[in-house]
Symmetry: C2
Subunit: 347 residues, 2 copies
């Protein structure tokens, strides 16, 4: 076993604190990674505080992991010692269901093996995430990271990035489309970058008027303050696609009315309660309401390569691991542009 330093929640009410634990030895197909940076996702807070139920403690959060390969198993063919490497939201899956065979592991029929707050394929060994010094992962679930990217800005691509990139690819959103991005946080700021990079005309829709300047800096062509009725009326039947990153309650029918005929509203956030949908909002313009998870390993690699080629990275604030609890408090107030990333050398 490999001794590892990390930060963990011992239960749902205590702050995160240093915790030493062990990783498995490096198996024949495993890659052993020294973690350099780990992004802080809002779902880390939900899970560390057991807000979704079923949390497994002690919990080492973190699924936006970037590091350097320290060792490889004897049958590893795809990684060499010294390579840059990334690990996202899952570290394994059943590999045999239709979704796994279609490179869509997040939709694995047995459920993907989450990077933390889950279990290894044995169904009993808890998984521990990236707020730690090292990780050991099967090479099939490890991503290559280009040295063209600023490493501290890569981690959030593995969750916030792929969550928005995947629906953009699946629905073939691109050149000439009018795209609304609802919500400008960790997910939204990546959706803006991707859609703008692909030639879409991007509008940020936000409840917070003061985000307009930032939206445009990120690449948005226009901004709609959603509390301003006249601004909202100006984009009725306007969008081909809306990428909805909001996980607070909001009225979907309002946004369905902003779509053109055959437009699609794609949700990637999960509000706490079900959202009432008026069937006529869908029928009236043959509209689609759809949802999407993160992408599979193949698509995540494609996204990282796309980002390397186009120099697309997350906007981040780098913190020391000792400041993680403070970072959580700031995230609760949406006070971050747009992702915290832990510099793991501070561990």
């Amino acid at each position: 076993m490999i001794p590892v330093k990390g930060y963990a929640a011992q239960n749902s009410t205590t702050p995160l604190a240093p915790w030493n634990f062990e990783r498995r030895d490096v198996g024949p197909k495993d890659v052993h990674i020294d973690i350099l940076y780990c992004g802080v996702c809002h779902s880390d807070i939900h899970q560390a505080r057991d807000e979704w139920g079923g949390s497994i403690f002690p919990m080492v959060p973190g699924h936006e992991i970037v590091g350097r390969v320290k060792k490889v198993g004897k049958d590893v063919t795809n990684f060499n010692v010294g390579d840059l490497a990334g690990v996202g939201c899952f570290i394994d899956s059943c590999r045999v269901c239709d979704s796994c065979k279609a490179d869509l592991q997040p939709y694995c029929e047995k459920g993907m093996n989450a990077t933390y707050n889950g279990y290894e394929k044995d169904g009993k060994t808890p998984t521990y995430g990236g707020y730690s010094s090292q990780i050991v992962v099967d090479e099939n679930y490890v991503l290559h990271v280009s040295d063209k990217l600023s490493l501290e800005r890569v981690g959030p691509l593995l969750c916030a990035g792929i969550t928005t990139y995947s629906p953009i690819m699946h629905w073939k959103i691109g050149n000439g489309h009018r795209v609304g991005v609802l919500g400008l946080g960790g997910l939204g700021h990546m959706a803006v970058k991707f859609a703008a990079s692909l030639g879409s005309e991007v509008t940020v829709l936000s409840t917070t008027k003061s985000k307009e300047a930032d939206a445009k800096k990120l690449g948005a062509h226009s901004f709609i303050h959603t509390k301003d009725d006249s601004q909202m009326n100006s984009v009725k039947r306007h969008f081909d696609f809306i990428i909805d990153t909001v996980s607070a309650e909001h009225d979907l029918n309002t946004y369905l009315n902003l779509l053109r005929r055959d437009g699609a509203h794609i949700v990637v956030g999960v509000p706490p309660t079900a959202t009432p949908v008026d069937h006529f909002s869908l029928i009236g313009g043959r509209k689609t309401l759809a949802g999407s998870l993160i992408g599979g390993i193949k698509e995540t690699q494609e996204m990282l390569d796309f980002c390397a080629e186009r120099k697309i990275m997350s906007d981040v604030e780098v913190i020391a691991i000792k400041d993680i609890n403070k970072a959580y408090e700031r995230m609760m107030k949406n006070d971050v542009k747009y992702r915290f990333v832990i510099d793991m050398s501070t561990l």
Copy 2:
């Protein structure tokens, strides 16, 4: 002006009764049709009773019209006297918006001109429907009807038929797909016929257990009684598509869970209140909830030709016009297999 006999509601509370009115003279592009049969759509009742608000009285309902051309205007090129002809839910539209130019008149940005309970393009002359002896319609909004079809069984194709055919075509539902049809009424029975004819494996999902035998007679391969939990569990993640024809309240999340990854639930009915959708029901399998109206003129003609080729017709009960109020009462109890059609020679 052309004197016409019909049946009309004089206001929202009186039964339908004989009423004589006038149609416009036959203009250069008009087709004058002697009506042979007119189907009775559930929306006729809603509108005659002003249940959706804004009804225009006197009202002559009926938008499932089949007849024979009696006269054509001098510039009509597409119809000859003696041709069989059909008129569906609309008799005109703006003709210049993107939807009209794309042959998708039901999505006309100015609103299509409804066959009844609407206005002609002048915006002030009320339109009167097919519970009448004759109708005059611009040839661009008239359909050709094949003499291979039993004429009394054609009318409902123009509303119930096209409402289910159009989404089947748009979402490319066909050979090899597992298709659920939710609700077995006027719309549902046509959805079963179309999907089965196109090679899909069709399952009827119904709250009414006794509909099983009929479902299979219509072409369904299997039947699920939706109140039986074990039957419902047996089709979890089963369907590629569900065509939802139900206009009563029902829980969409239950049905979204019956879809496979990337499956689509397509609503063509409008329940009285908005339906709560749990975002995770969509996100978990990258699923789609979509809506669809009737099709445009071009697609409606394609459907009629498809029906003629494959001998697909509605299952109907033919009634005399004097029995229309009794028919409405029976429809309120879902006591019809599957559409009433008025024999207009009884007028």
